[in-house]
Amino acid sequence: MTAVLGAALLMLLPLVAITGLLSNVAYNPRLGANAVDRHLGPLDFYLFSWPTHPSWLYAANQGVHVTIGLAAIPILLAKLWSVIPRLFEWPPLRSPAHALERMSLALLVGGAVFEFVTGVMNIQNEYAFGFFFTNAHYYGAWVFIAALVFHIALKLPKLRGALATRQAFVPLLDDVANTRPERRMPVDNELIPTTPASPSMSRRALLGTVAAASGLLFLQGAGQSIGGPLRRLAFLAPRGRNPNDGPNGFQINKTFDATGIDFGELGPSWRLHLRGTRRVKLSRAELLAMPQHTYDLPIACVEGWSTTQRWTGVRLRDLALLAGIEGAAQLTAQSHEQYSSYDHATLSASQVDDERSLLALRVNGVDLSPDHGFPARVIAPALPGVHCTKWVRTLRFRSV
């Protein structure tokens, strides 16, 4: 049983870990002040810069991270349940090697619970913990991954041995009347009970229950990530509904009311400040008079939900030219919002240069609503949602 659950986790957890690390790459932590409240250390090595193709790359990455993470929870709980006798094994420490293994297990269990609990709380905007989620979840992941790799290296031979015997699979088919305790041979295993109680549930019923629970949680993640008509399948997920009808009635990451921006600043007196080798101020009417381009691009949140909409606006690279910058340029966008970790974001030169990267003024044929960043917001392919700065005040271009 433990072997089957372990094999399932062995397939799922690497997916969650890799998409988690990729999510960090997608934030371009080396650019500008993108690494919020964080000094880059030896664990921040980046082998490639985050691409802009395909445009749904970040949406898919976060969808997999959160959906597979949710689906792994029942399996993880069942696995912890199946190995609990080991917590009380006797003697508690057999050798120095055994002592170190148990120490690593504490990091493994602590790391797993920490990562899953903070992740699950964060997607529901529940910040009962008194620390900054992003950094704690990222470095906690390294503790978890380090202990997990050591654990897999130790247990893989045992897992293969157990799965190679008929014992691992045949009993999974028995009904409760035929459910027998495992025999100790040919694979001796500390988890096989010496004095088993009579079975109250067959192995297939237990695995079936775990699978059903996984499936229910999978729906929550998949529905809010894929969106469209499937969104309603995510009946308990935070973004399983549209906030309202109409062209602006799609999912919101931060409402206008929560920003504390004075709406007067965004009225007719609003100007976009361009900074480069020269300074330019543009009104919204002047921006609308520039060549407009329309693309279907997803807004994808780190929390695992996404929604694809039709955006219209001015190309960022056209604005870079207007600011006097020819050739590759990084961009730092600053919002009217202040005192938020994500009131500004820096985009890489390849993100600025992509023809689909826009300062959007309209969405689905109408002006942006205040909740979606009126008068103007950044939207770029495969860019994490919080870097698609809303209520833009300044675009600062810098040659690279």
Binding site: W81, A97, N125, F131, A136, Y139, W142, A205, R239, D371
Partner: protein, 160 residues
């Protein structure tokens, strides 16, 4: 080599793997100390609580609930039926409980708070939806119980 193995309890590769894993953990934990002190303490407390809660609170709690549910009548003609009824209560209970465990922040939320600020959605439907799903799971389980009993009866009467 044999002496090392006897003393340490495993081969040298084991020790090297452990030290590598510990080094990576150490590098990560060091980063926790970047932020101001209160955050560091909170992170370490949550990390430690995770172990304690999972192993010493959560597990004994659901084992206890299951024990209470499973107090069975003395062996007799009713035993098999009891086991079946118990299974049909236990499965929907586990599924519903797990949904509550995972989505408790939304299901139990009584004011929009941070969730409303972020999404402009009301948290009200989550409790209703969870109750409906719970009811549906128990109904489904009850229906499948009745089907199984009916099938057994038919099989039984066919034989006699």
């Amino acid at each position: 080599m044999d002496r090392f193995r006897r003393r340490y309890g495993a081969g040298p590769l084991h020790l090297i793997a452990f030290l590598t894993s510990l080094l990576v953990s150490g590098l990560a934990v060091r980063r926790f100390f970047d932020s101001d002190g209160s955050e560091t303490v909170q992170i370490l407390v949550w990390f430690g609580l995770g172990i304690v809660v999972a192993d010493l609170v959560f597990l004994p709690l659901y084992s206890f609930v299951d024990r209470v549910l499973s107090r069975r009548p003395a062996d007799g003609p009713g035993t098999a039926r009891f086991a079946r009824v118990r299974a049909h209560v236990r499965v929907p209970l586990i599924l519903s409980g797990l949904l509550l465990l995972v989505f408790a922040p939304l299901i139990l939320r009584r004011s929009p708070g941070d969730f409303g600020d972020a999404s402009s959605l009301s948290p009200d439907p989550f409790l209703h939806r969870w109750l409906i799903v719970t009811a549906a799971l128990f109904a489904l389980s009850a229906a499948s119980y009745l089907v199984r009993v009916a099938l057994d009866r038919r099989r039984g009467s066919g034989r006699s």
